[in-house]
């Protein structure tokens, strides 16, 4: 699909930084609303939920980069690291809000929550699994780890599924919104599984091109 004008190379780096900046706007906006008493009802929960939702959105966006390139020939691989890291920052902020503003560092309550509440256990597991991915999201790690990097970063599918599940399990009635996220994650997962069949040949073996963009953008 050539209908999309190609961004000149000299703007690539700047566009990535712009994405980081724009990506953090919802968190900053929500924090400002909360801090100035403009979030209704239960402001801490509102902010916590906003952060969780954006984390899920960035995870889904990260996973959508490859299918978009495959199906529409739009190459946004250079943005994938920023999207993934934004997801990580949002999950981290989501967790910190829960720990600091919601639970007020009541560690016994937090530990009991993590151990006893399946939806919190799942959310926590997703957060922990994201940490190695965030730590290795740099050119040096990609070079050092080689194919192991690709395998490690496949965890993002598990993390996205856990994230969507965490959301669905946290609500009293699974309405349209959680179903939408479950559906999107399922679709992206299915695409990933079916990709070798669709594209033929490769038998699901990751190819260097899958992450070449990441390295270049560093």
């Amino acid at each position: 699909m050539a209908c999309l004008p190609t961004l000149p190379r000299k703007y690539h780096a700047a566009s990535i930084w712009l994405l980081y900046a724009l990506g953090l706007v919802p968190a900053a906006w929500g924090f400002w609303l909360g801090a100035t008493g403009r979030l209704p009802g239960n402001p801490v929960k509102e902010f916590e939920h906003l952060l969780g939702l954006w984390a899920l959105r960035f995870l889904i966006a990260t996973l959508a980069v490859t299918p978009i390139r495959d199906l529409f020939a739009i190459n946004w691989v250079r943005y994938r690291r920023a999207l993934g890291l934004l997801a990580f920052w949002y999950v981290l902020m989501h967790f910190l809000t829960y720990m600091l503003l919601d639970q007020y560092l009541n560690f016994s309550a937090i530990l009991v929550d993590i151990a006893k509440r399946p939806f919190i256990t799942i959310g926590m597991a997703a957060f922990v699994l994201l940490i190695p991915l965030a730590l290795t999201s740099n050119a040096w790690s990609i070079r050092r780890l080689g194919m192991r990097w690709v395998k490690l970063h496949r965890l993002v599918y598990v993390i996205a599924a856990a994230g969507a599940l965490h959301f669905a399990m946290s609500v009293k009635v699974v309405g349209l919104e959680p179903w939408t996220y479950i559906g999107l994650v399922a679709l992206l997962l299915l695409y990933r599984l079916a990709r070798p069949l669709i594209r033929g040949g490769g038998r699901g073996k990751p190819r260097a091109s899958a992450f070449r963009g990441q390295e270049r953008s560093a």
């Binding site: 209704p40 009802g41 801490v44 929960k45 902010f47 503003l101 009991v112 509440r117 009293k172 009635v173």
Partner: protein, 313 residues
């Protein structure tokens, strides 16, 4: 204060306690009620009510929060949905049909109910989602209404039903329905007759806003908020435990009793503490320990003596 001791006195013969407690305010409120009966309020009109001794000594939750942050799934699943989507709802004219195991079944006009002596009760409200408020309800004891229909001796439970009006309640129409309608709830008859149990017709000195369950709703302060069924059209006395909507939706999470109990967790979250809405803001700690029976243990614990509250959650 324990009102419940077997063997049971026939339900219809119990004198409502508020008659003893507040005879003077009873008369004053009756005068106010008579005034109201002459012309029914359409929405949020001032209501006269006597101050009830049942008033917790805690800061009131701001009116803005009480009327803009709540659950009323008939108008949508978000906390802001009830206020956003309830504009079209018409709370008048209204009738409440009371039937079942009663000597005198009757369909009451709202005017008649509003003419009952109204009291302002400042109650804690604890949502099952671990947040809470302090709300100045205006209403009358449910027992006052039950007295009028004379429950029969074999009546053991009271069943309640919310109105179904998909054209006025967006949550009741469309492809995705969060719950089966009508919303139904139930109480044991002794719970229903407890002086703390009221039918509310107002809040914050005015008639109930649509989003809070206009024109008439149940308030049972020692139980989780979802027991407080809104926009009631039917009350039925039965000899069997009536169904309740959330219990049908997720029986392992929401019991028939739903008494506030910090010791019995919701399977997905702790009930040991609660966020007091409107307090603490963004950075202040607004989490406080949840009290057994929402702080009304002295009044109501006797209703459940000998019962396993873990099994009957």
């Amino acid at each position: 204060m324990s009102l419940y001791r077997p063997p049971r006195i026939p339900a219809s013969q119990i004198t409502p306690e508020h008659c003893f407690l507040a005879r003077r305010s009873f008369l004053a409120a009756a005068a106010g009620g008579a005034l109201l009966a002459s012309g029914m309020p359409a929405s949020a009109e001032a209501l006269k009510a006597s101050k009830s001794p049942y008033a917790v000594d805690e800061a009131l939750t701001p009116e803005k929060d009480v009327t803009s942050y709540n659950n009323f799934y008939e108008f949508g699943m978000g906390k802001g949905d009830p206020i956003a989507n309830s504009e079209k709802f018409k709370p008048t004219p209204w009738t409440v049909k009371v039937d079942g195991l009663v000597g005198k079944p009757k369909e009451f006009g709202l005017e008649e109910l509003m003419a009952l002596p109204l009291e302002e009760r400042v109650y804690r409200m604890r949502c099952v989602e671990a947040w809470s408020m302090v709300i100045p309800w205006i209403g009358f004891p449910l027992s006052a209404l039950l007295d009028k229909v004379e429950p029969l001796g074999d009546a053991r439970y009271v069943a309640f039903e919310t109105v179904v009006r998909p054209e006025e309640m967006p949550g009741q129409s469309g492809y995705f329905q969060s719950l089966p309608w009508p919303y139904v709830e139930g109480l044991r008859l002794d719970e229903a007759r407890h002086p703390l149990t009221i039918l509310s017709v107002g809040v914050y000195g005015k008639t109930l806003p649509n989003q809070n369950g206009a024109p008439i709703r149940l308030v049972v302060p020692w139980k989780y908020g979802f027991k407080g069924i809104k926009s009631i059209v039917k009350i039925t006395l039965t000899d069997k435990q009536p169904p309740s909507t959330w219990n049908l939706a997720a029986p392992n999470e929401y019991g028939f009793y739903a008494n506030v109990n910090p010791e019995v967790d919701h399977p997905r979250w702790s009930q040991a503490s609660e966020n007091r809405i409107g307090e603490g803001g963004f950075f202040g700690a607004n989490r406080r320990p949840t009290l057994p029976f929402n702080g009304y243990a002295e009044e109501v614990a006797g209703l459940y003596s000998g019962m396993d509250l873990r099994a009957n959650y």
